[in-house]
Symmetry: C2
Subunit: 361 residues, 2 copies
Amino acid sequence: MTYKRIHNFNAGPAALPIEVLEEIKTDLIDYKGNGLSVLEMSHRSKAYDEIIKNAEKDMRELLGIPDNYTVMFLQGGATLQFAMVPLNLLPDNKPADYINTGTWSTKAIEEAQKLGKTPRVIASSEDKEFTYIPKNFTINKDSAYLHITSNNTIRGTEWQSFPETNGIDLVCDMSSDFCSRPVDVKKFALIYAGAQKNVGPAGATVVIIRNDLLERSPKNIPTMCNYKIMAKEPSLYNTPPAFTIYVIGLVMKYLKKIGGLEKMYEMNKAKAKILYDRLDKNDFYRGTVEKDSRSLMNIPFRLKNEQLEEKFLKEAKAAGMEGLKGHRSVGGVRASLYNAVPKESVQALVNFMDEFEKKNS
Amino acid sequence: MTYKRIHNFNAGPAALPIEVLEEIKTDLIDYKGNGLSVLEMSHRSKAYDEIIKNAEKDMRELLGIPDNYTVMFLQGGATLQFAMVPLNLLPDNKPADYINTGTWSTKAIEEAQKLGKTPRVIASSEDKEFTYIPKNFTINKDSAYLHITSNNTIRGTEWQSFPETNGIDLVCDMSSDFCSRPVDVKKFALIYAGAQKNVGPAGATVVIIRNDLLERSPKNIPTMCNYKIMAKEPSLYNTPPAFTIYVIGLVMKYLKKIGGLEKMYEMNKAKAKILYDRLDKNDFYRGTVEKDSRSLMNIPFRLKNEQLEEKFLKEAKAAGMEGLKGHRSVGGVRASLYNAVPKESVQALVNFMDEFEKKNS
């Protein structure tokens, strides 16, 4: 069966692979002969146990997560992690280093401050409107951890390689490029990621934590904010967001099928290149990010004649391209090319851009 | 099309109406001609805005929620509410009254204690293994609020009418009977409920709060735990559990279609009566709860000969009845008869019970 499908350039929640959607649809009312929907299943049932265990197993395999790390599917998005990280890992008498690369980093810093903690900004790209990833910074030896944001959805920057921390625990908000490329998990103490960009629908946050960190959780914080309690029976302290985890599992299976994260990375590089090449062709369109900090996931750009942007967005939408409006805090245009956005969509966008240029030059 | 459907007596996540599942399936890949799935939709899009606004509107209509209450779809389940209620509403120098009717009430009390607050247990049914709802208690005049649990999934008790509080704010964990009967919302200061029993899949918590309470939220608590921040743009401070909210909206529409909560209540009473009548017929089976505290949602019972219970459960499962095992903390049998469990399932259970009695007397 074929379906009407728009070109989905949403910044998140975002596109899912059509194969995954088709499998969900097939199994929706009677999950593999169990006589009920995953939406109705007890999280303690045998059928669901298999679903959640396989989701974790496949994620471990794809990312090469070492055995001394716990994988959890929590709730509350990255915003709750902004609080959980300092609540669990930052004692009141100790500072932690943060690098500020935009709105979401800023929020993480503000949340730690609000909770009476001492986040210390050791580098920031605010001087150039967050259009680059800082390169020169010194991590303090007394820091409880270094917090970074691997990809910045609003500004379109991405850490292309991760910093050496000389033994300081690296904590990374990977919400918007998680599973878009291979990462060396053992370089990180903690990785967290909202599911709704590359690995599933909204409603679950993946947390990958090195087990020794669990011992730092104090007792007097909310149970649902306590990594140690959440890790005891991972994802199952209380009723988890069961359906979202099921979809994440299907996405993991899909990623394995296409050849893993190396292959996904190649595909993402190829997709982004199509659009970046178009931006670099002449000055009708202009990428807003320094070249060595460009994101493969979110590509913001402006038209030379900014007066034309509204027209551009309106005509793009009419041509079946959804979600291209830049974030309200920066304006312009932004195309999000997450894992499940097909190359054909990027090609369609570039064709549209070429045509729009012709008509409006 | 017909599907294999078991009799779903799970304590939660639980059965959904087949009409709702069918609508989800129909719209799964291309939501009403929008060219994408609700699973892929931006929570800021026009299509999603309509979904979430209608879910709220229909819930307001069904429950008659007054205008001075905010309705929110949050994350973290009742367990996060156990913390949010005292964090937001209970200043450090003030006590709050709690009534202990079982495991979930106990957890709410322990969570408040853990956060350094002063919950005060003014009544408890622990003396008789939580098999009744306390009737004689005095609410303290200096209490910040009174916290109760309207229905106790594990023990099978339910408040059949709510206490008069003489001006003390009533906070109610309604997780397991929310929308199973009409309630007079204005009697409550705050109602919270995990969705996964009567109104949707796991992953969202409904919070209905009287607006003046929002002014009590202190600034130095995690953003995701702050009612005031969450209420500013209800459910949309960050990415909400969008698909779960969509399903809740469909369930609300379904409840309106069948005639609202009065009608649902009649249906639930009729269903529970079938099973309670069977339990009261002779002493082969025995309800474990005092009659005036019996729940319409969760009906625990024992066999006179407890040795037969394992056999009973095994044969029931083989006969297509899922989720009948009593909670591991109490044993025995428990049938959960939430809104979406059809009368036919209850009748099938009672028929099975009759036959089992015949064979094993």
